[in-house]
């Protein structure tokens, strides 16, 4: 029997597109419509087969796996709980509760994504808006150090480039679009103006823009490889637009200057509100990384890099962030929820995960699962489990179970661990 499920949310990236159509034949996913090339695979390549948990590579029952996980956590003095961004709010809450209870460090993929953006926000604030405001109002859009055509393929069509809105009835024609990046990309090809900045000069370029917006004249012929007339032109357009929006990404957070780059951009955006309405939206990567920030913040006061070791939350980017804790060899056990640090961390940090007992909760066979002592093959939120994910603009979107697989959720496993460590 085939059924069609509409308004399905895809949790691959921070767009959390919730207009996906999934065709089901019995409990098998037979087709996915409207999803982008990257998101589609997350749904239609998903293997919902019930798998048993593993302890040191051996298949065991769930009870035994929970016991093994509890033993690891009981023996640890400095456990790290990491990941969370591809799980749902319900599981994120449990992960923080567990961290609180056992005095763990908890960090999310934010720290290797928009962690520096969080630091900038804490320094200077953040003038932002929801994605619908971009679609409806934005007549000037700047993509800075991000490449949505590769990372968020439907972003252009749904919100920021060709999308038509109340005050942008002609879509693309009603917008002036800039891309600022160190290299041409699929996104820069679609822009009206591409500013190719020299690697590591974003801060200087942003400072120059702030100065130009304030009406100063700069003597340099170019900044960061951008000729002054082109920068002046951008500054003038920024001041003259109706509603400008900057989308920013890893080009700023991962390069020299990190949070200072982002802080300079956020300050520029705030200052532009003297002339026009202006907003900035960080291009959040994982489907619910914004939710991970939210949950950790409402539970502890801080968005990432939190240690509960002293019995109360302490915030320490650089101290309690996963890469640092691992690279310095400080963690003596790890519990990784729905992320794959072995695949994405610098080698020196990832190696430490192989030296310490690691527990993995993941619907997929991640590389981290490959080195873990205990592996729980859990359900995937939005496919065979329901929950909530927060979009990049912090709008919460419900995730519904499309099929029944019998797999436990991250929340259920974490809850059993919490009950056992009580």
């Amino acid at each position: 029997m085939s059924t069609t499920v509409e308004h399905v949310a895809c949790t691959f990236c921070g767009c959390v597109c919730d207009d996906i159509v999934v065709e089901l034949e019995g409990s098998r996913i037979a087709g996915v419509r409207r999803a982008c090339s990257v998101g589609r695979g997350m749904i239609d390549e998903y293997d919902a087969k019930l798998r048993r948990p593993l302890v040191r590579g051996r298949e065991v029952d769930w009870e035994e796996a929970v016991e093994a996980a509890v033993t690891i956590l009981d023996r640890a003095d400095s456990p790290l709980i990491y990941g969370l961004s591809s799980s749902a709010v319900e599981a994120q809450r449990k992960a923080v509760e567990l961290a609180d209870r056992i005095g763990a460090i908890v960090d999310t993929t934010s720290s290797v994504c928009h962690g520096p953006t969080g630091l900038a926000m804490q320094a200077v604030g953040e003038v932002t808006c929801t994605l619908g405001e971009v679609r409806d109002r934005a007549d000037l859009v700047v993509f800075w150090g991000c490449n949505p055509s590769a990372s968020h393929p439907r972003h252009f069509g749904r919100f920021s480039l060709t999308a038509k809105g109340t005050h942008t009835p002609n879509g693309r024609e009603d917008r002036t679009v800039y891309v600022v990046d160190v290299r041409p990309t699929g996104s820069s090809k679609q822009a009206d103006h591409f500013l190719q900045v020299d690697v590591g000069t974003d801060f200087e370029v942003l400072t120059a823009l702030r100065s130009l917006v304030k009406g100063n004249r700069l003597r340099s012929e170019s900044i960061g490889g951008i000729p002054m007339p082109r920068l002046s032109d951008l500054a003038e357009r920024m001041k003259a637009c109706r509603y400008g929006v900057v989308f920013m990404g890893m080009g700023l957070t991962m390069s020299r200057g990190r949070h200072q780059n982002v802080g300079e951009l956020f300050t520029l955006v705030a200052e532009l509100n003297e002339h026009a309405r202006f907003a900035v939206i960080p291009m959040r990567g994982h489907g619910n990384v914004a939710g991970a920030d939210q949950v950790l913040t409402w539970s502890s006061g801080y968005p990432f890099a939190v240690s509960f070791a002293r019995g109360y939350p302490q915030y320490g980017p650089g101290e309690f962030t996963a890469v640092d804790v691992l690279a310095r060899g400080e963690a003596d056990a790890a519990l990784v929820v729905a992320s794959d640090p072995v695949a994405h961390f610098p080698r020196r940090a990832a190696e430490h995960l192989e030296r310490i007992p690691t527990i993995v909760l993941d619907p997929a066979r991640s590389l981290t699962a490959g080195i873990a002592q205990v592996v729980f093959p859990t359900a995937s939120y939005g496919i065979d489990a329901s929950g909530t994910a927060y979009r990049m603009d912090n709008v919460p979107i419900p995730l519904r179970a499309l099929l029944v697989s019998g797999r436990p959720t991250d929340e259920e496993i974490l809850d059993r661990i919490i009950e056992a460590v009580k």
Partner: protein, 543 residues
């Protein structure tokens, strides 16, 4: 079964002004003595103690998108204000913006058992409710912002009050809201064009409607739907030198309809010299006294650290420009916006000093305590943890005079506060912190200790220093469970969430669906929470 016996009971709704009475409780409610088997009941000796219903906060920003953004961008607020985890009680942090569990503990430890979250955009109501589920002990509800809602403004423009009524009912239902909230009607929409509104008859760009029409429509709709709480209004011109005049004009314009004006202190100023406004609390209080249809809460300023957060986007931009402090702004599609700016209120700052005395004057010049309620518009004018301090200011004229003497001389000049010797009684405190707000909220089982009331009780040791007395109740019961003793939480049962579900013509959904195609980037089906049950939800009847 539980009996609190021999206490001095302050239960204004049931006319008890410190009389010695016994209160009996069973299954979470107050019951008549006959229903209790005294031999088996646990007895609390309340001799020499002051017994009040649990506190009811009618306006506080404790959870949701804005509050959490405030937490996230203020690590400096949290350091030094941590709570250590003990047993099953969670750790937490935050002074002006405490984390969720800590918020529940702090309210309970102060004797408060019901708190209303003051502003939620429907688009992010799901977020609000997820956080509320992590606030233990206290019962709560969420006010839904509607004063800049596109669909509503279209209904007004098109002359469709019937559709507006059905839409409001639908919106409250799908967002699991409790009341209609209005913030700077029309001004937040205009802010998306870099503008604001300055008068009740200014035009909202793109809609051709006015703040006056929005207020009028939402007040009428709230009445027609029989909502338990009147529309909760943060008017236009907040913080400006014409705010008192505007507030008085807004009150008169409501034509006798029910309304609640929140944090009125921020809207009771007149023009002073330079940038320092004057308090026009006397004139505003007079207007409040003259309108039987109105209630207000004060939003008392407390010197010290605060985090201002409001849907009033243009106000926050202005505050950021004035103070230079870091600034968050968030424009929300089709609905509202908002901003956050940290501040530090100082006695030595003439503007802050005027704000402080404006709040005091409102408390002392509004005659009927059933019309004026204690709030600090937490965390805008001060933290909710300062309520005991504010109670002391109201009950102790000498202490108030002492504080008054220490504020900036420019603020003291010409202030009527020096002549106001009124002191609130314990009975009146019970009105402005319990019975009054509960009645204004239409929460029949809150704010009193009559038979059928929720067994929410705060028991205090009477002390001369009222701040100390109210900061650390001897016992706090929530639904008959002892939740705090000597100001320390001892149990954390989950609290309920109150919502309303007024009926509406389902035809409205067709119109809203169409509206979704042009205004929202989420699907209609993923916006509504109507099919979902909240944990511990209780629907309060309308009509």
């Amino acid at each position: 079964m539980l009996g609190v016996v021999g206490g001095r009971v302050y239960d204004p709704r049931n006319g008890s002004d410190g009389e010695i009475r016994d209160i009996w409780m069973k299954d979470g409610r107050v019951v008549s003595p006959e229903e209790v088997d005294r031999d088996r009941a646990e007895i609390v000796d309340a001799g020499d103690l002051v017994v009040m219903p649990g506190g009811v906060d009618i306006h506080s920003h404790i959870v949701g998108a804005k509050v959490n953004a405030g937490r996230k961008f203020r690590p400096e607020d949290h350091r030094g204000s941590e709570r250590v985890r003990t047993g099953d009680f969670r750790s937490g942090s935050g002074h002006t913006v405490p984390s969720t569990h800590l918020t529940g503990y702090l309210y309970a430890e102060m004797g408060y058992t019901t708190v209303m979250e003051a502003a939620t955009a429907p688009l992010v109501a799901r977020h609000t409710h997820e956080e509320l589920a992590d606030v233990p002990i206290i019962d709560k509800g969420a006010f839904i912002t509607m004063g800049n809602n596109h669909f509503l403004m279209s209904c007004i423009r098109d002359g469709r009050p019937d559709l507006a009524r059905d839409y409001v009912a639908w919106l409250l239902k799908v967002s699991k809201g409790y009341a209609v909230k209005i913030v700077n009607p029309g001004g937040v929409e205009n802010w998306k064009w870099g503008r604001n509104v300055g008068a009740l008859d200014d035009e909202v760009i793109g809609f051709g409607v006015t703040p006056r029409q929005i207020l009028d429509t939402l007040a009428r709709v709230s009445d027609e739907l029989g909502l338990p709480h009147a529309p909760h209004i943060h008017g236009i011109n907040l913080g400006r030198s014409n705010s008192a005049r505007t507030s008085i004009e807004t009150m008169a314009g409501l034509d006798g309809l029910r309304a609640h004006f929140c944090h009125l202190q921020f809207l009771s100023y007149g023009k002073g010299k330079g940038s320092v406004h004057t308090s026009e609390a006397a004139a505003v209080a007079e207007a409040v006294n003259a309108h039987p249809n109105l209630t207000v809460d004060v939003g008392q300023l407390v010197f010290g650290s605060a985090t201002t957060m409001t849907s009033d986007g243009p106000l926050q931009h202005n505050l950021h420009r004035t103070t230079g402090a870091k600034w968050i702004n968030d424009d929300v599609e089709g609905e509202t916006g908002g901003g956050i700016v940290p501040v530090f209120y100082k006695r030595t700052n003439p503007i802050n000093a005027v704000m402080w005395l404006t709040g005091m004057e409102l408390f002392l010049l509004i005659d009927d305590p059933w019309k004026v309620f204690l709030t600090t518009d937490h965390p805008n004018a001060g933290c909710f943890t300062s309520y005991p301090h504010v109670i002391k200011l109201l009950m102790d004229a000498d202490y108030r005079a002492e504080v008054f003497a220490g504020i900036h001389a420019r603020a003291r000049e010409g202030s009527v506060l020096r002549d106001l010797k009124r002191e609130y009684s314990l009975y009146e405190i019970a009105v402005i912190t319990r019975a009054g707000p509960a009645r204004a909220l239409g929460l029949d089982r809150k704010g009193h200790l009559g038979v059928g009331a929720d067994a929410d009780i705060a028991i205090y040791q009477d002390m001369d220093d009222k701040a100390e007395m109210f900061a650390r109740p001897r016992y706090v019961y929530k639904g008959g469970t002892l939740v705090a003793r000597d100001g320390v939480v001892v149990a954390d049962p989950p609290g309920r969430t109150f919502s309303v579900a007024p009926p509406y013509d389902p035809e409205v959904e067709k119109h809203v669906r169409k509206h979704f195609e042009t205004t929202y980037t989420v699907s209609f089906e993923n916006y509504a929470m109507s099919s979902q049950q909240l944990p511990h939800e209780e629907v309060i009847a309308c009509g």
